[in-house]
Symmetry: C2
Subunit: 414 residues, 2 copies
Amino acid sequence: MSAMDTLRINGARLLQRLKALGQFGALEGGGTNRLALGDADRAGRDWTVAQMQALGMRVQVDAIGNVVATYAGTEDLPPVMTGSHIDTVRTGGLYDGNYGVMAGLEVVATLCDAGLRTRRPLQVAFFTNEEGARFQPDMMGSLVMVGGMPLEEALAVRAVDNGATVGAELQRIGYAGGAPVGAPQVDSFVELHIEQGPVLEQQGVEIGVVEGVQGICWMEFTFDGTSNHAGTTPMALRHDAGMCAMRTAACVAELVARYGGRQLGTVGALQLKPNLINVIAAQAVMTVDLRNTDGAKLLQAQAEVLAFARQIAAENGVRFAHRQLADFAPVAFDAALVRSVEQHAGALGLSTLRMPSGAGHDAQMLARVCPTAMVFVPSAAGLSHNVREHTDAVQLEQGANVLLQVLLERANRM
Amino acid sequence: MSAMDTLRINGARLLQRLKALGQFGALEGGGTNRLALGDADRAGRDWTVAQMQALGMRVQVDAIGNVVATYAGTEDLPPVMTGSHIDTVRTGGLYDGNYGVMAGLEVVATLCDAGLRTRRPLQVAFFTNEEGARFQPDMMGSLVMVGGMPLEEALAVRAVDNGATVGAELQRIGYAGGAPVGAPQVDSFVELHIEQGPVLEQQGVEIGVVEGVQGICWMEFTFDGTSNHAGTTPMALRHDAGMCAMRTAACVAELVARYGGRQLGTVGALQLKPNLINVIAAQAVMTVDLRNTDGAKLLQAQAEVLAFARQIAAENGVRFAHRQLADFAPVAFDAALVRSVEQHAGALGLSTLRMPSGAGHDAQMLARVCPTAMVFVPSAAGLSHNVREHTDAVQLEQGANVLLQVLLERANRM
C-alpha cells in the first residue's frame, strides 16, 4: 500500500467544490442559508449527487433522505464510510458539515486520479437535517439511519417555518428514497469537521483528534415568587424569584470552577418579570447548559445544581419548577480509530490535540453501530453558525489529507 | 387645649371622600388611573379644590401647580402644613397619596364641626406629579416648591406618553398658578401615608412612626463580552457577560446579608443578549437598587458592588460600563416631631413602630425647609401601585386621628 501512503488530496479542487456548494442558498455578503429540505437544500443536494455520479459512485437515497454514495472496493466487504451534512442554519457558513462531505468526495477524486481502489468500498454520505434549525430533533437523518428514532415519527415532524412535514418535504424535493433505514452495514465511520470552537486556533494546533462527544444536560428552571416594592419590602419578607435564579447561576459558575477538567456550564437565557429596576421579580425563567465528557460527573453536576436551585427556592419561599430539555450521555469514539487519526496526522507532520467535540455531530449516531472517529480542523476565532465562519485553505487541505490516510488504512486493512 | 385633645375625626366621612376622589380616573374592576396633569387629574383636582373651599379654606395654586389650602389660625404665624398628592400611577389604588390629602381635609372638617381654630394656620396641600409616572422626576411639585429644581426646568419636562410639557399641561388644565415657588414659609410639615410595604401588617402594628426616608442608589451595569457556543468554548476562553452580571447579583445578595440592619438590595432587571440556552451571552445589562437609612453604609455598599462588578468583568475579559441612575442620601425627619407622632399614637392607645420610609415621599422635600415627620398606616399584603392596594377603614381612621393630634399640638404650641 505504499503507493497509497504518498497520496495527497487536491486542496484547490476541494476549495472549489466548497465554494460551488456554497452558492446554493448564498447570502449577500457571504455565508449560506440552506435550511433542511428547502429549495436551496434540494439544489445543493442535486449538485452534490451529480458530483458523486461524476466520480463513478453509486448513489443511494434512504427513506429519511440520507444520501450515500459508494466507491466500489476490490472486495465485497462492509464499506468504510465518511460524510457529514450539507444543510445549514439560517445564517450559516461554508464549512460546517459541507467540509466533511466535500472532503469525502475529494478523497474519492484523489483515488480516481490515481486509478486506485481500496479493499473495502468507500462511502461518502450526507445526512438529512443535521442542524435541527427547521425540524426537531437535530441529527435526524443519522439518528433514523442507526435506528435511534422510528422512521414514521421522523417523517411526521413539522417544519418550524411553514409546518410542512419531513415526509412531504422529502417527496416534494425528490429525496424520499427507497433504501432501508435502521440497521446500516458499515465497517466504520470517520467524520471530518471544523472544530466550531477556539481551542485549536488558540493552541496553534493543526488537527483535533476527537475522542468523543461530551454529554449534554439542558435544564429550564422557573422560579415563582412575589412582586414587591424594592424600597418598602424588608429582605426577610421577600420572595425574590430573580435573586434565586441569579444565585443559581453563580452556583453554576462556582461548580464549574470547582469541578475543573472538561466541565462546562452556561446560563445563556434568563427572563425576569416584570424586569423593572425597583420591583422585586415575581418570576424568573432560566436555562442551565451543563456539559462534560465524563458522564458520571455530568450527572453529579446536574444533581448539585438542581439541589441548589430547589434549596434556595425553599429558603426564599419561592416556588420552583424544573424541565429537562435535553439529556445526552457522553459518546466515546473507537480507541483504535482515534489512535489512527493521531498517527496519520503525525505522519503527515501535523500537530495534534486530543479533544472532545463540544457540539453534536452525525458521528455520535454512527458510533452506536460501528467504530467511529472524528477529525477536527481549526475554526477562526471559534466562530460557527455564523456567516464569518472560516478555516484557512491550508488547514482544510491538511484535514482532508488526514481523512484520506485514515480511510485508506481502514479500508485496506486485512 | 383639652377640648382639642378629645377631638376625633369622622372615619366614615374620610372614607366617603376617598371613594369620591377615586371615581376620577376609576378603572373597571377597581383602582384608579389618574396620571399627573391628565384629564382625570384635572377632574380630581377640581373636586378636591371644591372640597377645600366648602371647608372655608383659602386655596392658592403655585407656579408648578401645587395646591395649598389654608384654614386660618387665630394668629398670623407660619402655618403648619399637611398633605400629599392625588396623582396616581397607571394602575394605582385609592390610598397612595390620596389618603394623606383627604385626611388633611378631614382634620379641618373636624375643627369646623367643633367650631375651633388652631393658633397657627393649618394648610392642606397636594403636590404636582409625585408619582413620576408621566413626567420625570417624581416628587416634582414638592421639589420645585422647596427650591430643589428650577421652575423653568420643571415646566419644560415632557410627558412620556404624548410629549406635552408640564407647563403646557398646567395651562391646559387650569393649574398654572400665580403663587411663587422656591422658599415656602412653613412652620412644619406632617404627611400621613399608607406604608406601601408589609412591615406593619406583618408585625401587627397600627401606626408607623417614620424616622426618615432611606437613601437610594440606583446603578445600571452593562457588561460587554463575546457570544460563543456553549458547547465548544472552554471555560478559560470565555468572555461571559451574563455570568458576570449574575455573579454581581449574587454579590449583592451576599453583601445585604452581611450588612444586615436596614440594608436593602435588589436586582430587578437583567437583559441578556442573545438570551439563548446554548449561546454564551455577549451582553448583559442589569440594574442594582441599593437602599439604606445609614448614608455611610449605603455609600460603602455602592462602592463594594461597583468594585466587585469591575473586578469580575476584568477577570473575564469583559468590558464594563456603569451609569448612576439615582443617588439620594437618606433624609432624617425632625426628632421632636417624630416623638410627637409616637406619643400621640400611644395616647390614642395605638401600637407603634419606628421605621424608615422605603419609598420616596413629598415629605422628604419639605424636610429641607422645615421640621417634618410622617405617619404610616398598614398596607394589606404590602401592596401598592396596584389596584388591589388596601387599608382597612379602621386603620385609615386611626392614622387620621394621629395626624389630627400631631397637627393640633404643633399648631397650638406657644
